[in-house]
Subunit: 575 residues, 2 copies
């Protein structure tokens, strides 16, 4: 019986990605040599040990018991509070926070790996950390010294947790419709009134205080998104000496009964003249939220990769243990992993997960570099919607494939495979649905610059093709040929999209297919870089052979979709 | 708020499919004129009314409360027993049973529609009927007069329900590993011992007796599948006067806690020298089960279509009510259904559901005709794995799309969208996983006859292309062009597959992609037939325009996948 609580951190892949896949040590480059890929691999291994021993065993109880609302207080299952304390004490919250906020400022490439690992071991738990990390970025960018001292330090230490309060019953994707109000008081604070929904970890009992980051409308503010301002509002008010005072007028009205991530309480919060403090300028709310958007959206990509990998690990373990029936072309009692179609499912999962993982590291590293090198900013931001949209959409299918590996046993909740299929389904929705990601990609990042950033990506891919052309042997040639054909399809699709510049409904009716096309292509690029790195090894071992097989599978099973999607993009809207 | 209990039977589509889509009245042909498409549409409408008023309202309670095991007896939620009685009294069980078994013998085309409707309105409930219907076919083919009189008549009347007892803990896909034994007693009956798992509706309280059809091994029988015999074993033994006697030695050990279809009890049954009666010959068990396989597998296709359509109906209703934000290219407050990407999702669902529905009618009608015309048998049976495999695989994605239409609300269980995503996930698994379907298709139906039956299908598709070429205008030409290109890809893929005849692992490593290719192609053929029928109308109305849009969407968004899949098939196994 496969243990649903077990989790193996993908240390080998991250070691390869940090040190080799991109032709240099990306960690050393990001830290000016302060850390190397080897150091980074140790961080990943340490996080993996913590995740496997502390977080992964709580994943099932988080699902079965889940968060409950009792007398106005959300309670997590036994073990969550202890795990959170251990997480904080081990320094993982501080490790990822920027240096400017008092954190250790680990580079993006490592944070990509950590993001996957927290989510792979326990996605519901990881959301608590993820929201806190996002708020740290937002406050670090815009908050006054007073707010930094009172709130940001407590978030960075991990003592308190953070939330994002955007959505309202009639304001989800359309934030301009937000109706929550904030009225300034004589003491300089603000009184917040309104109802916020879908507030992840909006209340809980794993830390002593919660800092809500709230979008609200000030009196006389213009309609729409420009009228929104940002506030912090704590669950417990903070005395001037930093000690906790009375409870703020924020009530947890209810928590949602969701398809998955039951261990992550999703709250309806009612603000009844709750006390808040302005972050940044009046009317600067949306800009303040955008600060955290790139990292939050990339974070969703890591979450989807993590959940998909956990599903894969369990399915692979089951398939290598389970023996049933004779296996075609194999002698004796072979496990079902050797059945051609089970092998297909497992390779389909692992080859796509590797592509997602690699793209996560590449994009996170590029976002890092863009902070000091503005010439990289456009391409870095180009990858954000692709990473979020493509990874989350395709990862849903991967968790479904994992169930298929189990057959009927996969449909039984006790097996644990179904939880991943339920948990992951939110990822293409929150932090902006796939449609929102694709609108961002097509509207702001392709049509607006006439395809220049897309072409920059294509040129880099061409560089990898040229690199492969310089290597002898059929592996390099096959991968180069396939990538070249796919690249041509992507260029055609981009030209078709640009042709819709004057009929925007045509462009936005195929924006998701276009996003998936670029994601699929980028995944193949990651495999091509890997093939180039592996073929440079003088002596190739089993791990190298596995990477070549994975690239070959991706190239023949996943990449051809690019051609189908290009046909779809060409069609525009079907009226 | 969309009412999760509402259900609209797809009467218009079935009216069109029965009377027009295939160029003649398929119901009249099947019944020798006794029934017409018009009569059939009335049957569908009547079933639809019953389903909408009696079955659909129980779908949510079936999910939330579900079946429970209490003191050795499975109990269904309130309302299920009454609904089952009403279902029986309305004559729906008898209507579908063959004439030879004492039923009304409705033709396959109508049964396809009914199958979709029972499942669309309440898939968990429908499984009870589906298993009974399957057992009726098996007993009708092989049972002795005594068994027919004692059991079959009660099944056909609907008074008792039937189950299939195949799977054991170590014998799922591999039935040859079955260990349950049956030993003949002096009175001619048999004593059955063993444990069966995954027994759908294996116990319940909605009918007074349950007839189990059990695969077991007789003393001295050969190893493997040839050693299996078929038995009926009732929950309550039947006295010689037909009244119910004492309880048979069959214990419900437990019921499964499943991802979905909670209203369908999935039982572990323990046979403790339970009394059974032989059906057919000793050693003829598997042959007896195969009798019901075509209809059961086709039935799974109808189930997946039904669940997907219910998910679509609810998502479409939500999208046409929900107003949020400005809609690109539309003035005023337009519902989210007008957003280009929501429209894409809805058209993606509806165009594929139509293709699945049409293929269901076509294949069911062909299976019917094959009974009297052996020249149609090979093609009819060719469609069975395609209908089962393609419909169930792709329908999973459709229920996921339905959640996406709702955004965050789709992830909340109360909305009702998540239930379909959970319910449908079993359909690519039971009645033979997609791998089993594709092995059947590739092994028995393509490689064995050197692609002759596949070519027969392709020739018929060519006929439709020729028909479209004879019609003027861009609609006909576009559809013909696309189908022609797809057909060429399918022929190439078939040739590639035949090229693997001597390296079977290559063929079976791409058998699922090949099955999905043919399903996608067949779906496009259904749309092409529809386009031909619609273009023949002298005056075209809004319904005609919708059919043309649906075909155009399918042709540009779904059909291009054929080309990607053909590339995958060509690759064989990635070693």
């Amino acid at each position: 019986m496969v243990d649903a609580a077990s989790y193996s951190p993908p240390v080998d892949d991250y070691t390869f990605l940090f040190g080799e896949a991109f032709g240099l040590d990306v960690v050393a480059r990001a830290t000016g040599g302060e850390l190397t890929a080897e150091d980074a691999a140790e961080v990943i291994a340490g996080a993996g040990d913590f995740a496997a021993s502390v977080l992964a065993p709580l994943q099932t109880v988080g699902d079965r018991i889940g968060a409950r609302l009792e007398d106005g207080q959300v309670r997590l299952p036994e073990g969550f509070a202890e795990a959170y304390r251990a997480f904080v004490e081990a320094g993982w919250v501080t490790a990822e926070a920027p240096v400017s906020a008092g954190g250790d400022g680990l580079p993006g490439a490592i944070r990509a790996g950590l993001g996957e690992i927290w989510n792979g071991s326990n996605a519901a738990f990881a959301l608590c950390w993820l929201l806190t990390a996002g708020q740290i970025h937002a406050l670090d960018a815009a908050a006054s010294d007073e707010i930094r001292e009172t709130y940001l330090t407590k978030l960075v230490s991990g003592e308190w947790t953070g939330t994002m309060n955007l959505t309202e019953p009639d304001a989800g994707t359309d934030l301009g419709a937000i109706r929550t109000t904030a009225t300034q008081r004589e003491d300089g604070g603000w009184g917040i009134r309104g109802q916020k929904i879908f507030i992840t970890w909006g209340d809980h009992d794993v830390a002593e205080n919660i800092v809500h980051l709230v979008l609200a409308r000030t009196p006389g503010a213009p309609e729409g998104a420009r009228g929104l301002s940002l506030f912090v509002a704590p669950k417990f008010l903070v005395n001037s000496d930093g000690s906790l005072g009375k409870r703020n007028a924020i009530t947890t009205v209810s928590i949602e009964h969701k398809l998955g991530i039951h261990g992550s309480p999703t709250c309806v919060l009612s603000y009844e003249d709750a006390t808040g403090y302005l972050v940044g300028e009046v009317g600067g709310g949306l800009a303040g939220m955008f600060v955290m958007m790139n990292s939050a959206r990339a974070g969703m990509g890591f979450q989807a990769t993590g959940i998909a990998d956990r599903a894969y690990q369990q399915a692979a373990a089951y398939a290598s243990e389970r023996v049933q029936g004779a296996v075609l072309g194999r002698d004796g009692r072979a496990p079902i992993a050797e059945h051609p179609d089970v092998r297909r499912l497992l390779l389909s999962m692992s080859s796509k997960i590797f592509a997602m993982r690699a793209l996560g590291v590449y994009a996170a590293d590029l976002l890092d570099r863009a902070e000091s090198d503005p010439s990289e900013l456009k391409l870095a931001e180009f990858f954000v919607p692709i990473l979020k949209g493509w990874t989350t959409e395709d990862a849903v299918q991967l968790t479904s494939d994992a169930i298929q590996v189990y057959g009927g046993m996969g449909y039984i909740e006790e097996t644990g495979a179904a939880q991943h299929y339920r948990d992951i389904r939110i990822t293409p929705i929150y932090e902006g649905t796939t449609a929102i990601q694709s609108n961002d990609l097509v509207g702001r990042k392709v049509l607006r610059d006439g395809g220049a950033t897309a072409e920059e990506l294509f040129t880099r891919i061409e560089g990898t093709i040229a690199q492969l052309r310089g290597v002898e042997g059929p592996d390099a040639a096959r991968n180069a040929d396939r990538l070249e054909r796919a690249l041509a399809a992507a260029r055609r699709a981009t030209a078709d999209l640009l042709g819709f510049a004057d009929s925007p409904r045509d462009a936005f009716a195929v924006s998701v297919p276009y996003l998936l096309l670029l994601g699929t292509l980028a995944g193949s690029w990651m495999h091509a870089l890997t093939v180039a790195a592996v073929l440079a090894h003088e002596n190739r071992g089993p791990a190298d052979a596995e990477r070549l097989t994975s690239a070959e599978f991706y190239g023949t099973h996943h990449l051809p979709r690019v051609h189908a999607l290009a046909e779809t993009v060409a069609a525009g809207e079907i009226a």
